[in-house]
Symmetry: C2
Subunit: 272 residues, 2 copies
């Protein structure tokens, strides 16, 4: 009986530590994914509308999975780690009861041995022997009562243990199932979203931009091929400079856009 | 253009780092689960047949999930982290091309400025001016050709980037979907297994054992309540000792069983 309890203490203690550790590692995976979500949104804000929308959508789906992972971590702590901890407290109580039982039982053996010694030493001392026999009887009654109590305790302990094992591990499996089902659902939608990304449209956008930029730029070398042109060269240098200036301006704009998008409620919404 | 590439370098570098980190954290979660599987089997071997079979079954299902997690980690490294790394190499090549273009372009500007200065200083030196104009013309032709090359490079770069983004993140989502679907499947079976656990049968087993143990034990206190018994007390003490001895023997047996079960092929089979 003592062994059963000590065994349970050993393994349930390990299960508790490992499950807590499992929950912590899951939380770390969530943290990494959160960083990925943040970077995806950062990146999306530097891209053309088509890819920007696709990446933001993807980031939001990834954030949703992390919300489910967060729920998984909380449930694991509440329905697996905590019950295992509580079980540890119950185990200590059962162990205390066993200790008490052992004490009563040892007393019975002690009284029996005392009577035995008296029988060997002074078999004719009726009074002392009778006293010792009465002590043995009393100790036996105590031990018998305690044995019954302990049997009930152990029965209750075993019943509770088996029920707890089934409950705790079933809860673990249920929590994991819910998480995996939700993640599967969200990733299916994320896959659709990535699949719908219009690559050609994005390239058209990009080529149009490049064309405008290189169009401006090409204007200068083209006039440079006509040395007889009356245009002053400095004006061309100026256009290079202003083009660069526009580039810087547009950079500032896109920087501003990033800041704006970071503070917009849509972004805040998907953060925990 | 330069900015587009620098931007891609920045974010793709971060994606690569984060995805590698995500894979590593997943591997750590697998390691913790592997430890849990080991402890569950250890524990199962100390329990009654009914719970032993349930726990072993559960441990095996949990081990299966870890096998799928291992496949997830390997796929993430192969289809997400590695392509992101390769993409980093491509980026470096594009950056080198842009650097080369800037050099040619700067040369054109330098030639233009030189011509401008000559026009201001010595507007009548036809020979030197003609030479400078010819240099500008040559530099312009070079720049124009390089611009075209660069436009092609940038177009190719953008096309590749957009395709890579879609491919890499779609692969990420697919890998995750496969893992979650498999985990869901295995945990559904694990749930059924835990649900089928026959608690009552296990308690009957346990009570029968307790009854045998306490039956042996109760025999002694009962005779102790009859001091007139002719049985020598020492014999009873002997029975206590032999009961304890049997307990120790059975402990040794169960210890042996654990060692046996650890070395059996069923156990080895579910380990990687």
């Amino acid at each position: 009986m003592e062994n059963t309890v000590a065994n349970a203490e050993k393994y349930f203690g390990q299960f508790c530590t490992l499950m807590a550790s499992y929950a912590r590692k899951t939380a770390k995976l969530r943290d990494k994914s959160d960083l990925l979500v943040k970077q995806l949104i950062d990146y999306a804000n530097t891209e053309n509308p088509e890819l920007r929308s696709t990446m933001k959508n993807f980031a939001e789906e990834l954030a949703k999975v992390q919300d489910y992972r967060q729920a998984e971590v909380e449930r694991l702590e509440m329905k697996v780690v905590e019950p295992l901890k509580r079980y540890g407290v119950q185990l200590k109580q059962t162990q205390a009861e066993i200790k008490r039982f052992n004490k009563v039982r040892n007393n019975e053996i002690k009284q029996l041995e005392k009577l035995e010694r008296l029988r060997q030493k002074s078999p004719s001392d009726r009074h002392t022997l009778s006293q010792a026999e009465s002590n043995v009887h009393k100790a036996s009654v105590d031990a018998s009562r305690t044995t019954q109590q302990l049997e009930e305790t152990i029965d209750e302990f075993q019943k509770q243990k088996l029920k707890d094992i089934q409950k705790i591990f079933s809860d673990f499996v249920t929590i994991e199932m819910v998480f995996h089902a939700k993640a599967l659902e969200v990733y299916s939608s994320a896959f659709q979203n990535l699949d719908n990304y219009d690559f050609e449209r994005d390239m058209e956008d990009f080529r149009a931009k490049i064309h405008i930029a290189s169009g401006n730029y090409d204007a200068r070398p083209m006039s440079a091929t006509h040395p007889s042109s009356t245009l002053p060269w400095s004006a061309n240098s100026q256009s290079v400079r202003s083009t660069l200036q526009r580039q810087e301006d547009s950079e500032e704009d896109s920087e501003e856009n990033i800041v704006q998008d970071f503070s917009n409620p849509e972004y805040a919404q998907i953060r925990r």
